[in-house]
C-alpha cells in the first residue's frame, strides 16, 4: 500500500459549468452513440439496410431493361418513317432514335450485335431479337402500332379521313387523376422507414433502460445525474443514430433511384419526401420517451418485450392499414382520423399525403398536433420513468407509476 503515491487531483473545471444540465445530458447521449455505433451489430445492420434499400429501388428498374434511348434500325426509310420512329419513342414515354440501315441483312446483323434494339421494315414488319413473353412494349410496341397505322392510311382509301376523326375513343375521367403509383411507393418507403426506425430504436431504448435498471447501474448514475437528464440523454443519443441511419437510407434511395432510372424517384414529389422527413423526426420524438417509460417499469430485461407491446400497438395497426391505402384508391374516414392522432400520425399522414388524399395544410395541422402530443407524452414519460427507475421487484403497474409520481411531484 503506497500512501505516498497520491491520486491525481480531480480536474474540476468549475463544477457548476462542467456539470451543467445540458453538458451532462450530452455526456449521456455521447455514451449511447459511441457504444452503439461501435458494435458490430450496428455496423452490419446498417450495411444490410442500405443494401436492401439500394436493391429495392434499383432492381426493378434494372430488370425491366436499360433506360437509354432505343435505337431503331430502319431499312429503306425516309424522313416520314424516321418521324414515326421518333414519335413512337415520345408516346411510349422514352426516346427512340432512327438508325438508317442499308439492307435488311445489315439491319439484322446490327440487331444481333446489340447496336439497335429493333428493326423497322416500313410497310412490312418490325424485327426484334427475341419477342418477350407478353409481347413487345415501350417504344417498339408503340412503333408497331404507329407504323401499322401509317401503312393503313397509305393502303386503304378513306382511312386517312377516318384517322383524322380518331380511331380510338377519347378517354375521360370523372375525377382528377390521383397521384401516380410512384408517389405512393415513395410514401410506402417513408412509412417503412418510420416503422422500422421507431420499432428498432424504440425497443433499443426500452432494453437499454431495462439494462440500466436490472444491472443496478442506475443508482450509481442517479447519484451524479438527474433522472430527466439520463432519460433525455439516452433518447437523444439513440435518436442521433436513428436519424443518421434514416438520412443514409434516403441518400441511398435517391442515388440508387436516379442511377437506375427507377420510376420511384421520377414520380416522387419533393413534398412527399419532406413530409416523410418531418414525420420520421416527430414519430421518433413521440415514441422515444414512451419506450423509455415502458423500459423503466421492469426489473428484468427479459420483461421488456411485454411492456413495450402496448406502446407498439398503434404503430402496428396503422402500418398494416397503410398497405390498403397505398394499393387501394383512397383512404377511408377511419384512416383519415388516424392521420391526426399523435400516436398514429407519423405513419398515417405521410401515406395520406403521398396518396393525394390530404392537402398540405392538413399535413401541417397534423404535424403541429403531433408535436403537442410529443410534449405531453414526454412529460408523462418522465413522470413514469422518475417514479419507476429505482423501484425493483415485480413489474410496476402503469397506473401506480403515474399516480405515485403525481403524489410526489
Amino acid at each position: 500500500m503506497s500512501t505516498v503515491d497520491a491520486a491525481p487531483q480531480a480536474g474540476m473545471t468549475p463544477p457548476p459549468q462542467a456539470g451543467s444540465a445540458l453538458h451532462t445530458t450530452w455526456l449521456v447521449a455521447r455514451r449511447e452513440i459511441r457504444l452503439r455505433a461501435k458494435t458490430r451489430v450496428f455496423v452490419v445492420t446498417t450495411a444490410i439496410m442500405l443494401v436492401a434499400v439500394a436493391l429495392a429501388v434499383a432492381l426493378p428498374a434494372i430488370l425491366s431493361g436499360h433506360s437509354g434511348p432505343d435505337r431503331i434500325g430502319v431499312v429503306g426509310g425516309d424522313a416520314a418513317v424516321n418521324g414515326i420512329v421518333t414519335e413512337a419513342g415520345k408516346l411510349a414515354g422514352g426516346q427512340a432514335v432512327p438508325v438508317t440501315e442499308p439492307s435488311q441483312a445489315a439491319a439484322e446483323a446490327a440487331l444481333r450485335g446489340g447496336e439497335v434494339s429493333a428493326v423497322l421494315v416500313p410497310g412490312k414488319e418490325i424485327i426484334v431479337k427475341q419477342v418477350p413473353l407478353g409481347g413487345v412494349s415501350g417504344s417498339v410496341g408503340t412503333l408497331a402500332q404507329l407504323a401499322g397505322l401509317s401503312r393503313l392510311i397509305q393502303t386503304v382509301p378513306g382511312a386517312a379521313a377516318a384517322v383524322e376523326h380518331g380511331v380510338t375513343l377519347p378517354v375521360r375521367g370523372l375525377e382528377a387523376p390521383s397521384t401516380s403509383l410512384s408517389s405512393r411507393l415513395t410514401g410506402l418507403f417513408t412509412v417503412i422507414i418510420v416503422w422500422v426506425l421507431i420499432s428498432v430504436y424504440g425497443s433499443q431504448i426500452a432494453l437499454g433502460i431495462g439494462e440500466e435498471k436490472s444491472s443496478r447501474v442506475v443508482e450509481v448514475l442517479l447519484s451524479a445525474v438527474r433522472p430527466v437528464q439520463l432519460l433525455i440523454g439516452k433518447v437523444l443519443g439513440i435518436g442521433v443514430l436513428a436519424l443518421g441511419q434514416a438520412v443514409a437510407m434516403v441518400i441511398v434511395f435517391v442515388i440508387a433511384g436516379f442511377a437506375s432510372g427507377s420510376s420511384l424517384v421520377h414520380g416522387a414529389t419533393l413534398g412527399v419526401v419532406i413530409a416523410g422527413g418531418v414525420f420520421i423526426v416527430l414519430g421518433y420524438a413521440f415514441y422515444c420517451t414512451a419506450f423509455a417509460a415502458a423500459g423503466s417499469l421492469v426489473s428484468r430485461q427479459s420483461d421488456v418485450n411485454s411492456t413495450i407491446m402496448p406502446v407498439q400497438l398503434p404503430l402496428i395497426v396503422t402500418y398494416a392499414l397503410s398497405y390498403t391505402v397505398i394499393y387501394a384508391n383512397g383512404a377511408n374516414k377511419f384512416y383519415h382520423v388516424l392521420g391526426f392522432l399523435p400516436p398514429t400520425a407519423p405513419i398515417a399522414m405521410p401515406v395520406l399525403y403521398a396518396a393525394g388524399d390530404v392537402p398540405v395544410w392538413q399535413v401541417a395541422v397534423s404535424a403541429v398536433l403531433c408535436a403537442a402530443g410529443t410534449v405531453w407524452m414526454a412529460r408523462l414519460a418522465v413522470r413514469i420513468y422518475t417514479n419507476s427507475i429505482l423501484r425493483t421487484g415485480p413489474r410496476i403497474k402503469l397506473s401506480q407509476a403515474i399516480r405515485e409520481s403525481r403524489h410526489t411531484a
Partner: protein, 316 residues
Amino acid sequence: MRRRYGAVTALDGLSFGVPAGQVFGFLGPNGAGKTTAMRAVFGVTKLDGGEIRWRGRPVDAAARHGFGYMPEERGLYPAMELLDQVEYFATLHGMDPRSASQAAAYWVGRLGLGGRERTRVDALSHGNQQRAQLAVALVHDPELLVLDEPFSGLDPGGIDAMSAILAERAAAGVTVLFSSHQLDLVENICEAVAIIYRGRLVVAGRVTELRRGDQPRLAVRVAADRAAAWSAGLAAGLGAVESVRPDGTAEISLASAAGSQAILDLARAAGPVEHFAYEDMSLSEVFRQATGASVGQAEAEHASARSAGVTTGAGR
C-alpha cells in the same frame, strides 16, 4: 431524517454528524435504515422530512458532484469496457476529458486491475467487479466517500485491502462514511461510528469510548496469584472486583478511569504483572446493551417483518 415506505418506517428521526477527514462507520443490523439514509445523501431516496447537510449547507446536485458512491446493490454497465466505464463516471462528476482519462487509468492500476482496461465489466471476476465499483466511486477524487456495505462478500485479504484504501483516503483528507451490519468486523477499521436501529440512532461516538462504556473494566493478572489475592487491597474508591477467572485474571470495574494507574501500582507491588488491559466491549455488545436485543435477534425480526410485508404487498 424521516422516511416511510407505506406502513414501514425506514428512518424515524435519525440524526447524526460525520466528522471530516475520518473513516466513519455507519452500523446497525440489516433493516435498520442504513441504505435508505445513504441513498438520501445522493437524493436517490427522497426524504419525507429532514435534510442532509454538507459543510453546513443542504446537499444539492453541485455538492453531490464532489461525492463518491458505492451502492449496496453494486451496478455497472455490463457490456462496457472497464476503463471507458470508469472514465465515463469521472466525466459525469464534472471532470474534463483529459483528467478523467488520467484518473481512470490511475485508479484502475491502483486497485490492481491493470491489464484489464479493455475487458468488458461482465467478463471480470466478482472480486474485480467490486474493485471496478470502488474505482468508479473514487475516480473523481471525492471529498466525501459513501460506501454501502463495502466489506460484504470480501475475503479477509479483500477486507484488509479495502480498509487500507479507506484509511488512505481519510489520511488524504477525504471523509469516508461506510455502512456495515457486521458490527464487530469493522471495529478496528473506523475511528468513530453511529449505530442505528429501527431508523433511530442508538449510540454515536469514537469507537474506543463506546467500547469502553460508562463503566470501564480492567483485566489484571499477577504472576502465580491464581486467586487474585492482590486485589484484596483494592480500595473501594478505585474500583470493585467483579469476578476472578480460573487463570487468576481479576475483572475490575473502575470507579473512574483515573484510578487505573493506582491499580497497576497495587498489582505490581504484589508481583510481576502478566496482563493489564481494558476489557472493552465489542460493538455488538454495545448494541445489545443499548437496545436490549442482539444484532442477530434484530435481523431475524426484520426478516420476518419483511416476508410479512411482501405477502400483504402482493395481496393488495
